[in-house]
Assembly symmetry: D4
Homo-oligomer: 204 residues x 8
Amino acid sequence: MTPEVLTADNTAVLLVDHQIGLFTGVRDLGTDELAHNVAALAASATRLGLPVIATTTAADSMWGPLVPELVAALPHGHPVIDRGTVNAWDDERVRRAVEATGRRNLVIAGVSLEVCAALPALAAVRNGLNAYVAVDASGTFSRTKRETGLLRLAQAGVVVADYSALMVEILADNAAPHAGEVYGALDMPFAKLVGGLSAAIRSR
Amino acid sequence: MTPEVLTADNTAVLLVDHQIGLFTGVRDLGTDELAHNVAALAASATRLGLPVIATTTAADSMWGPLVPELVAALPHGHPVIDRGTVNAWDDERVRRAVEATGRRNLVIAGVSLEVCAALPALAAVRNGLNAYVAVDASGTFSRTKRETGLLRLAQAGVVVADYSALMVEILADNAAPHAGEVYGALDMPFAKLVGGLSAAIRSR
Amino acid sequence: MTPEVLTADNTAVLLVDHQIGLFTGVRDLGTDELAHNVAALAASATRLGLPVIATTTAADSMWGPLVPELVAALPHGHPVIDRGTVNAWDDERVRRAVEATGRRNLVIAGVSLEVCAALPALAAVRNGLNAYVAVDASGTFSRTKRETGLLRLAQAGVVVADYSALMVEILADNAAPHAGEVYGALDMPFAKLVGGLSAAIRSR
Amino acid sequence: MTPEVLTADNTAVLLVDHQIGLFTGVRDLGTDELAHNVAALAASATRLGLPVIATTTAADSMWGPLVPELVAALPHGHPVIDRGTVNAWDDERVRRAVEATGRRNLVIAGVSLEVCAALPALAAVRNGLNAYVAVDASGTFSRTKRETGLLRLAQAGVVVADYSALMVEILADNAAPHAGEVYGALDMPFAKLVGGLSAAIRSR
Amino acid sequence: MTPEVLTADNTAVLLVDHQIGLFTGVRDLGTDELAHNVAALAASATRLGLPVIATTTAADSMWGPLVPELVAALPHGHPVIDRGTVNAWDDERVRRAVEATGRRNLVIAGVSLEVCAALPALAAVRNGLNAYVAVDASGTFSRTKRETGLLRLAQAGVVVADYSALMVEILADNAAPHAGEVYGALDMPFAKLVGGLSAAIRSR
Amino acid sequence: MTPEVLTADNTAVLLVDHQIGLFTGVRDLGTDELAHNVAALAASATRLGLPVIATTTAADSMWGPLVPELVAALPHGHPVIDRGTVNAWDDERVRRAVEATGRRNLVIAGVSLEVCAALPALAAVRNGLNAYVAVDASGTFSRTKRETGLLRLAQAGVVVADYSALMVEILADNAAPHAGEVYGALDMPFAKLVGGLSAAIRSR
Amino acid sequence: MTPEVLTADNTAVLLVDHQIGLFTGVRDLGTDELAHNVAALAASATRLGLPVIATTTAADSMWGPLVPELVAALPHGHPVIDRGTVNAWDDERVRRAVEATGRRNLVIAGVSLEVCAALPALAAVRNGLNAYVAVDASGTFSRTKRETGLLRLAQAGVVVADYSALMVEILADNAAPHAGEVYGALDMPFAKLVGGLSAAIRSR
Amino acid sequence: MTPEVLTADNTAVLLVDHQIGLFTGVRDLGTDELAHNVAALAASATRLGLPVIATTTAADSMWGPLVPELVAALPHGHPVIDRGTVNAWDDERVRRAVEATGRRNLVIAGVSLEVCAALPALAAVRNGLNAYVAVDASGTFSRTKRETGLLRLAQAGVVVADYSALMVEILADNAAPHAGEVYGALDMPFAKLVGGLSAAIRSR
């Protein structure tokens, strides 16, 4: 299976249920790290010109708002679709928002991985899209959920990846004018260190 | 491979050999947690209206009865088919019970994962059903058994998942009248905490 | 360092901050397992005749009530001291309650291990008591907190242990009249399985 | 992919390079456990009537003889083909021995997993056989070798499994006359304990 | 060993070599998390009124400046002593700065744990101070370095802890006027989530 | 703390509760490996001339007999003291058997580590003996039990070790006439491989 | 999927971005071990007569030169293509160099695994080549990157393997004249030990 | 316990049994890494002017010579004492060699950690020396051996550490003339990378 190369023109991003209440259950990565990653995904996607769709579940009655790091990374007043369906794809507003982008490749992140990210990804594939899940911008509640979530996605033809691999694939050219801005938004830990060390050495 | 969406009308549950003697060998999750999970699977499936079939191996001569948590979660007097075949699918009573449900999707859990859950799952696929294994309501005896069990299932087109992901996929609508009851039966640890905290805050 | 043997006459139990809100942060064991363990500690201590003192932090303004499993294990209406001090020992009501028991050995559990259990334990040692921490009835928020919490306690002369080891040390005699009741309250996973298997075999 | 069910009539076993010198490099399971497992595979396969083919690499010049546990499990004087090819399938004597069995399903174990077991498995698949690898009767030298070995095999259509899952699939009927003998040869740790406990309880 | 209770009047903080170049080698926690932790230590210590002393090694010739997160957490223009000695205690400026605080308890963090934090801690103990090491605001380069570093410190009477346990011990009173500010500076991941969830529920 | 060197004249061995029923709960090492280790301890101790005392708990009513590997390693008809006390030291027959050896150093192994091995070890220290626990010939039921068991023992002055380190310390001289016999009884996995490889190379 | 057997005539090697600056971020294996592995891959490939193509990213402005171990393993003055594209396949010089080899099988290693190795591998498959990734001669920056990188590659039909498995598959014949030289270049840790031990025993 | 500071004048090094045959059993770190570490210890100690004593066990009859990396790091023709005692301290030649150095602090490394390094360390302490064990220049055969070896050493007053922490403590002054040479001999992986990156940046 060799789906087409991701580009800034053929890809959209769907963020599902990165809500405070659901974050309390995340056990496969630190919640600070998860908030960092999903914010970095949103920020770099925006700089690359990708449409970003955000949705929540029962924000008012149960799970609370998006984590503040993601709110800060999204454009001010960016719309968030609050829904009642388990599968975000089953909400017509979400589905229409995805279709309105006209993009055939959908990068999805969600909390939890195996439900909030995986069910829309499976639905997207059933509807003829190519689906990608950014696993380190998702997060889940147990070892089995992560392990089986990854296998179920791969088996169904969904590509599992990390957030920065997908965004640099779209960047494609490290010499592009916005490359520095995109890497800044990606905010990868070791790259910050090497960049800082280089700057220090050069300034000596 | 994108099998159809699971619904309360097209899915049945098969529970294989959740017996006390076999639980003593489980090493990939705690036996209390496993008993909780399979009981939660049975309870939520029942609330969703799914038929549940239970079978044991050599209950009287070797492996003992079902664990009490599962017995308590099943309707009183629920039948349990005790058999002599390694593969539950090879027992005609089990096979007929599955066929009698008329469901094309079969969610299986078993102890051990790679024999008691996997062999019926492979047989179901050979017989044209879609098979799912609820891995955290199963359990096995060594790292290699778990690791290769998951890969063998995925390779054969069986979907590996966790018990609650499958049941909430079937629930589909968080606003459904029985949603609260189903989530209560699923009894997910972090959800209990958030629910309890919310209730406490609201009561202040 | 060889402190005296624990007995039902020389030991009391102090439970610190087993509150819903703090449980959401626990990462070193499952929250269901932690709730089971602290409830089993309270239940077995009660059956052994040990005084049990319970305290919370900011229950109304921030961290919420005790987890329901612990509430159910304590006698109905058991008093809970809600306080504002970080170290429970710094609250005069807690300190007096401990002193009122007249016991020289104090078994402590708390969430988190390295603050809520450890600081009172260190204070108890400074005040001439022998302190024990039941680590699997405590729980904490990071690997470093657990790892350094254990070392700091051991270094200070506090005994680190698990809840059931301390209670069976107090039981001392497996032939005592209340032994069955105590083991029932301890509710150890593998012992349940062996007991169930034995009963099944005997009933054949 | 749903290959046919394994039976005592359609399956053969190929054991590749379980030699003392290669065992010194095994890091993914204990060498005592590995020796136990491959001996149990050979012993149970023999009791099930499966042909067993054994081969070594450079036994005299470099890697030494088979481990004694496997020698003891094979019939006295069982032939061992010592060869110079990396892939056992490339040795004509091995290939002919496999073909002479007339079996279409080949269970392979080897040290190391990703070379000695995997290369013949891939060759068998290329030659129209169904290949299975018994991973816990194999063993390898690094984490990456195990992890990628499993993925490469699964990707190529080779079934990865553990030794006892494959043998009990062939046994099929726990009530068969030789079932006790086969389980004895499989020698699974927890089953021994449950059997011993049952016997003790019955003898009271 | 039961050293005195830490207070805002008897404690100082020493931060050793949190430099970009040394961060590239850290393997026992993520470098983003480490930068967060040491910055949170500096910020909360400042809010608690503790003197903070910072030192670097070969900042210009080899290891580069402090990580920017720590720089941002320290007061603007906070002095940093760049030195040539392996053990910061061997630099007279560092030693005098510590002595000038007049505090008997010294909280130390350093990269690496077993050299930059541990050697000054051992020296402080030899000089009659009580030494504490904040392990999650330190960081090191291998598993053995962490494991033996912790044991060596504990053996020598240095208290090993995490940064927030030490700061809340000093805070002592959750009802203190600056408690909210200190907890804000500590910035503990799960506490942020519970706080955010509570605020959301209250605002409904 | 530097206790005297162990010798064949000053050391005895106490084996506590290596019973089938308790083995079913062991989670910190494989039960086959544990049975191997305690049998190797008994066999090598016997060859070194150390007195070996064995005791069980509720063998007839609950936990069953010693595992067969240990029975086979002990001299035929070796006495086993079945008792009702939690702490084997509290049984007068056990205590007298230890005292009758006249040895000041006691090597203890037990299932579980933190109760069956640890409580007699603590009692032995209180009674003026030097106590050692052979941790890999013990075994326990959870991570916390192992982790805190080790720390509690070390804190109390009990030496924690592995079975073969203790026995080769007693052997002392690799050139002793019985050295080969002792190493044979110790049966260390890698040593078998090197010995086998050496023999093979020499026989070429 | 059963691609053709690798041979010295049909295989080429592509090494992507094994640069000092990128090595500082590697977390899934030690950087010394990674340098050893990629150098051993280059050295053994050269001895087997495989063409080796090397490329770097922003060597002068950001990430620095190849690690010295790899430089030493490549022939003196071996060309290195420094490029600006994220995907090495997108650089026409790299693509032409691969095509100029005329080989249909491409073994790729890169830092990082999921970008520098994976993106060219996916491109190679899209262009009709068979692609292999040598995972232990690659290296990456987080657990999720490794885990999803492996799954994405396997899903796309790229074979994941370790460096020595691929090279010994190409060697094919352990009796070949250059076999000793190739194994010397592979420099596998345990093989060195067995070889050294054998030599020692033979020289006695 | 605060032993004196290590210096080039008060410290000697004892290397016990770093032999090929024993390396085959090492499981707590890679054998290449262990060989690197003990060679780096020997090389840096030599450059610091520390006396180095090396000993082997049954080199001719059983365990073979020192690993070649250590031989290369020692001065040509450096004496190696081959002995028959389990504890190197029990060999009069070893003991005299240590005493002849007149140093009160002894840094020991050995394979295995808990016997070959630990028994001489315990003996040294009994004889009034300060003993240090360089754990990453040692190595052992099982998890329990490492875990209990470390605890036994710490309990007995032996300092456990890593090789480079001990050597840089002795170096003391990063501005010393031989500092570059010592760091070169220590050959720490991340420091090589930072050094290489700095050189590359400076040369631009």
